[in-house]
């Protein structure tokens, strides 16, 4: 184990030695891959099937970064691992509030824009994202259902936002939180997935795609990004569903609902979900769940967009206006 313990400044010297060590002992040790930063170096532990990142660069920040990340792995208390955020502000340090005080088009409730101001880790409250998106796995694939409302504070900026981002023909990403953040990073993810395909001559797995996204945004943790997304797809292991957010969470699961209307959606889904449902029933369940969420949540509305991910990729099932769904369900009563 001691072979892994190194400080950043020795990375370049120990480069080759390090990799050899990894190679020969990777079957015996089980560690975590942690790519810390692209600007700084990378503190590397191996997972015995993963690729190894090693970027020997000489910079002081890198040292600091490596040490801190190393400390976290070795079990010491994880303190304030914050990047040097000077590059964000061109003026004096009293401007912490400035970039976030503007009304950005976002799915977040207004309070969420102030998240960058809070330096205290304890005080950080989980802000809701003003939207409802959900996805669940069942026998015949994954159903993804989203609403289409975007709010800037209390103003509804748009009722026709596409909150499902088509990364590639078999991978979908949903959007909750800051609209620009979600669409930018998921577009970047699409590019990374394509590069992976070209390099490895096979499609990227859902786990790997979600990991790429999580690692990309983790570098900006604490800087005010707001993103809560679900990466859904079908790969050789079957249907895949991961929840990734800007706090650094990456969770695999069978059912997720994200946003301010998520509680309402959970209620509907939990009461109706069975693994052996037909595709029709599953779509109807997803649609109903989003509709109920828009009914009770002021920050969700517009249309319900529904996608189904199956072995051959994803299909756009339907787009229904919430008002029309309301009439439809009223008649059924």
């Amino acid at each position: 184990m001691s072979l892994f313990i190194f400080v950043g400044e020795y990375i370049s010297a120990l480069n080759h030695i390090f990799i050899d060590c990894i190679e020969c002992i990777k079957h015996y040790f089980n560690c975590a891959v942690h790519k810390v930063s692209q600007i700084g170096g990378a503190v590397i532990f191996c997972l015995h099937h993963q690729t190894i990142y090693c970027k020997p660069k000489k910079s002081i920040e890198r040292l600091l970064v490596s040490k801190m990340a190393l400390a976290s792995v070795l079990g010491s208390d994880y303190a304030d691992f914050s990047f040097d955020t000077d590059k964000s502000y061109a003026f004096g340090s009293g401007l912490a509030a400035e970039p976030t005080s503007i009304d950005n088009l976002s799915f977040a409730i207004k309070g969420a824009l102030g998240s960058a101001e809070q330096d205290d880790v304890e005080k950080k409250i989980e802000f809701l994202h003003g939207t409802t998106t959900l996805a669940f796995k069942f026998d015949h694939g994954v159903i993804v259902a989203v609403d289409s409302r975007a709010t800037a504070g209390a103003y509804i900026a748009s009722q026709t936002v596409k909150k499902v981002i088509e990364i590639n023909p078999y991978l979908l990403g949903t959007m909750a939180g800051g609209a620009a953040d979600c669409s930018f990073w998921e577009r970047l993810l699409a590019r990374q997935c394509r590069v992976y395909e070209l390099r490895n001559k096979e499609r990227i797995s859902v786990a790997a795609a979600s990991k790429l996204l999580a690692n990309m945004v983790y570098q900006y943790k604490g800087m005010g990004l707001s993103m809560g997304t679900m990466v859904c797809g079908w790969d050789k292991r079957g249907p895949g569903l991961y929840y990734v957010d800007s706090e650094g969470n990456r969770v695999c699961g069978d059912l997720f609902a994200v946003g301010s209307g998520s509680m309402y959606a959970y209620g509907v889904i939990d009461s109706g979900l069975r693994q052996d449902m037909s595709v029709e029933d599953a779509c109807e369940l997803g649609r109903r769940a989003i509709y109920q969420a828009t009914y009770r949540d002021a920050y969700s509305g517009g249309q319900v967009n529904l996608y189904h991910v199956h072995g051959e990729g994803w299909t756009r099932v339907s787009q229904d206006d919430v008002l029309l769904l309301h009439h439809k369900y009223q008649e059924k009563l």
Binding site: T85, K87, S88, Y89, A90, F91, G92, G94, L95, E98, P99, I102, N104, L105, S106, A150, A152, Y155, A157, S158, T160, V161, K162, G178, A179, A180, D181, S183, F184, M223, G224, L225
Partner: protein, 281 residues
């Protein structure tokens, strides 16, 4: 003018008339007002803006239009912080030139929109305080409107209002162009003349109720001509308050049109830009 925000005891911003200790902090941003609006039709697009430039209680200029021509088929309207508007349009122009030189063709509206999104997101942590709306014709000749937020989130729309009076204009456009919240109405597709008239009326309403909007209205239209000969046409500025026509001299095409002595590009068999400033009787 140095812009500052004053903060009271509890850290929140104070009103203009205040008593007690006040902390002044330098702010790199200021709000210069202005409203922009874009409408896309079947084969045309219209981008309009008011021409008032204000700051706080003052008006810096009554003749500061917010629409900028990017290419023959695309116009951008920028409102918000004027300094960032100017810089952003300079950056976009430079990037357009670079694209033209590397790829030997002009950028399409969709490409400009995607590029602007990445330019804006590049400043995610110190944003351009600009509300952009791009209006133009896409590569198929259909009208296209792309609306942005200050950090680069964008989508394609049929119509969009942005800027200080956007919350007042958008519902009106929803009703008149989108036929929202109306039952039993025939969805007539928008004609060019009706669109221009609608834009004028809508701006009058905005100027009535928003202090930052007023003085004059600049309308730019992007059309496909029947003769397919591109021309830049200036008519005149429509001033909501004073009903004055400011027309520019030149040879006439009809009693309302004057050709302006700008460069005329002849582009056979394709789409072009007509800049029209509407004369109102």
């Amino acid at each position: 003018m140095i812009s500052a925000q004053s903060f009271g005891e509890n850290g929140k911003m104070k009103d203009y008339h205040h008593t007690g200790p006040v902390e002044y902090r330098f702010s790199p941003y200021t709000f210069n007002g202005g409203t922009v609006l874009a409408v896309a039709g079947e084969d045309f697009a219209i981008v309009a803006s008011d021409t008032r430039l204000s700051e706080g209680y003052s008006i810096h200029s009554r003749d500061s239009p917010k629409c900028y021509k990017l290419t023959d088929t695309t116009v951008i309207g920028c409102s918000g912080f004027h300094g960032d508007c100017l810089t952003l349009t300079k950056i976009i122009d430079a990037r357009l030139k670079m694209y033209k030189h590397s790829n030997n063709k002009m950028m399409t509206s969709g490409a400009i929109a995607a590029m602007l999104s990445t330019i804006l997101y590049g400043r995610r942590f110190f944003p351009y305080y600009v509300y952009n709306i791009i209006g133009g014709l896409d590569e198929h000749g259909k009208g296209a409107v792309y609306s942005f937020d200050p950090v680069g989130s964008y989508q394609r729309d049929t119509y969009k209002a942005g800027g200080s009076a956007s919350a007042m204009l958008q519902p009106l456009l929803d009703n008149q162009i989108g036929f929202k919240n109306m039952t039993g109405v025939e969805h007539v597709p928008l004609s060019k003349d009706k669109a221009v008239q609608l834009v004028k009326d809508v701006f009058i309403s905005a100027a009535e109720r928003d202090v930052y909007t007023g003085d004059a209205l600049q309308i730019l239209g992007i059309f496909v001509d029947t003769n397919e000969i591109p021309r830049l046409q200036f008519l005149c500025i429509y001033q909501a308050d004073h009903w004055q026509e400011v027309s520019l001299p030149g040879g006439g095409l009809d009693d309302c049109a004057f050709t302006f002595s700008l460069r005329i590009k002849i582009n056979v068999g394709s789409i072009f830009l007509l800049v029209i400033w509407i004369h109102v009787q």
